[in-house]
């Protein structure tokens, strides 16, 4: 597949909660190797959109295609089998497991099944465990958590957990990766690390879809940006186009002067 065909294509997707259209007729495409960002004010529907695309919520309208195949309303685990992975805004970590084990869970799809082999610890299970642990250790190193591999996730810092979720998502070797606020709660240095990490993931040919509040990060890293407001698409384009789009400026700062808006979006 060439890099120009969309890996993830979302079309006219929508859902309502109690009569409120949380996401309404939203569509976008993300290509392999690009970073596609979704921004918008709080409550714009960014996380809900992620939940619709990743199968956590069932959309009432619209469709999702992954690598050209229809995957609308598939269960999250079926989507994972087809190459979609994600992280969570509000941390969905396996707190009782160590950092390494968390990432090993991400290898689930790549691991051999076979309950009897697991119950009786046949040699294949030991090999499988060592293999998954090796992949997990490599990924932990990649996100800078090697030293914390044996620490229970419950004892890790917020920033470390954000990176742990990325490592776990990468363990499945996804084609498309949805990152929900990966830099939330990170300081400047950590944010820079995250930026490099995301860039490298995209360079490996993954379609990265990013929801992020740190506008500086978004503007630097994104190939294209989608702006949501009240569940609808407000604008789409490159960082430069979004920065100068009057509708976006208004949505972010009301009708105040463009100077402040430019500052906020810079």
């Amino acid at each position: 597949m060439s890099t120009t065909t969309p890996l993830l294509a979302v079309d006219g997707i929508g859902i309502s909660f109690g009569g409120v259209r949380a996401v309404d007729n939203v569509g976008f495409t993300a290509r392999a190797g690009e970073v596609f960002s979704i921004i918008g004010p709080n409550g714009a529907g960014k996380t809900t959109l992620f939940n619709l695309v990743s199968g956590v919520y069932t959309p009432k309208a619209g469709s999702v295609h992954l690598a050209g195949e229809p995957v609308t309303a598939l269960e999250p685990n079926r989507l994972a089998e087809r190459g979609l992975s994600r992280t969570f805004q509000n941390l969905q970590v396996f707190f009782r497991m160590t950092a390494r084990e968390n990432v090993m869970v991400g290898r689930h799809l790549r691991e051999k099944r076979g309950l009897l082999a697991h119950l009786f610890a046949l040699p294949s299970t030991g090999r499988q465990n060592r293999e998954s642990a090796a992949v997990a250790d490599a990924l932990l190193e990649r996100v800078g958590l090697s030293a914390q591999a044996d620490i229970p996730a419950a004892n890790l810092s917020y920033g470390a957990l954000k990176r742990l979720e990325i490592a776990r998502a990468l363990a499945a070797e996804p084609k498309a990766l949805l990152l929900d606020e990966p830099a939330a709660g990170c300081n400047a240095v950590e944010t820079e690390e995250i930026e490099k990490l995301i860039r490298r993931i995209a360079d490996d040919g993954v379609a990265v879809v990013l929801v992020e509040h740190d506008m500086k990060l978004v503007m630097r890293i994104s190939d294209r940006i989608l702006v949501l407001d009240q569940g609808r698409v407000l604008a789409e384009g490159s960082a430069a186009e979004i920065r100068s789009n009057p509708k976006v400026i208004e949505a972010y700062l009301g009708t105040h002067g463009t100077r402040e808006a430019n500052l906020a979006l810079d």
Binding site: F17, T47, Q92
Partner: protein, 290 residues
């Protein structure tokens, strides 16, 4: 037809007791997230204390008040000595603590009272009232009426009094309730005392019909728990409807299908309902927030 009416009345009578036990579960659960498996012991304490007090010559009204007070004190002690010290423990740990409390109270009753079955004389005699071909015990009206009065009083308490609203606020959001100055520990203690009183009243009212003994609590707790879940955990209306439904199902199942499988019939219906409505009859479908 008279047969059906007969079954319905006896079902509703037992169901009213389940409803009161389920209400007790609901009140404590809402205030503290604790599923109190010692709830049935309050019913036992109410019945047994009244039996032994009247046997010792105390007039019935005084014995009733005394029994309710005893249960309230036990409820308060249960909260202060067993639940409060374990604050912050996982729900499962708290449930096991209440099971321990249930075993302890059963043991205590066995020592303080005895291991025999006991009854009370019916409050308004034993002459059945003929109604539509069915013979209804006057005590049934005491049970149903008592349950109705309690439900109305509870409704008034929660909707008309400041303390009642504080309890509701605590149920809705404990942290927020604490932030606006509600003493949530007091609210939890209060919920235990109220549940104990409700359980004791149920026990006193129904003892003339069903007898009581030191170990009637566990089965009542399970039935009450099942009723609360059938209605939808945390929903007082659900608890009442669930309780009455379980009682009716048992009576109708015993009457028309099989008396040996009456408990099974109630549980089969509960299973079917939960498969269709995983949050109970009045439960809200929840959306997972991630």
């Amino acid at each position: 037809m008279p047969e059906l009416l007969q079954f319905c009345v006896s079902g509703l009578t037992v169901g009213a007791v389940y409803a009161l036990v389920a209400l007790g579960f609901t009140i404590i659960y809402n205030a503290s997230d604790v599923v109190n498996f010692a709830q049935g012991e309050f019913v036992m304490i109410g019945g047994m204390t009244t039996v032994f007090a009247t046997a010792a010559g105390v007039p019935l009204p005084l014995a009733v008040i005394g029994a309710i007070l005893v249960a309230m004190v036990v409820g308060l002690l249960l909260h202060r000595l067993a639940i409060e010290p374990a604050r912050g423990a996982s729900p499962v740990t708290l449930i096991i603590i209440t099971i321990g409390a249930s075993i302890f109270l059963r043991g205590l009753a066995q020592v303080v009272f005895d291991k025999q079955f006991h009854s009370l004389p019916a409050f308004s005699g034993d002459t059945p009232i003929r109604f539509g071909g069915a013979a209804i015990l006057p005590q049934s009206f005491w049970v149903l009426g008592g349950a109705a009065v309690i439900v109305v009083l509870l409704w008034g308490f929660f909707n008309r009094t400041l303390i009642g609203k504080a309890v509701l606020a605590t149920a809705a959001n404990r942290l927020a309730a604490r932030l606006v100055g509600i003493n949530t520990s007091f609210v939890m203690g209060l919920s235990f005392v109220m549940s104990a009183a409700i359980g004791a009243i149920a026990g006193i009212l129904v003892t003339p019909i069903t007898l009581t003994s030191y170990d009637v609590g566990m089965l009542l707790a399970l039935k009450g728990f099942a009723a609360a879940m059938l209605g939808g955990m945390g929903n007082p209306l659900g608890a009442v409807v669930g309780g009455l439904a379980v009682g009716l199902l048992e009576a109708l199942g015993a009457g028309y299908i099989s008396s040996t499988y009456k408990d099974a019939i109630a549980f089969i219906v509960i299973l079917v309902v939960l498969f269709a409505l995983p949050g109970g009859l009045f439960g809200k479908a929840s959306v997972e927030r991630v």
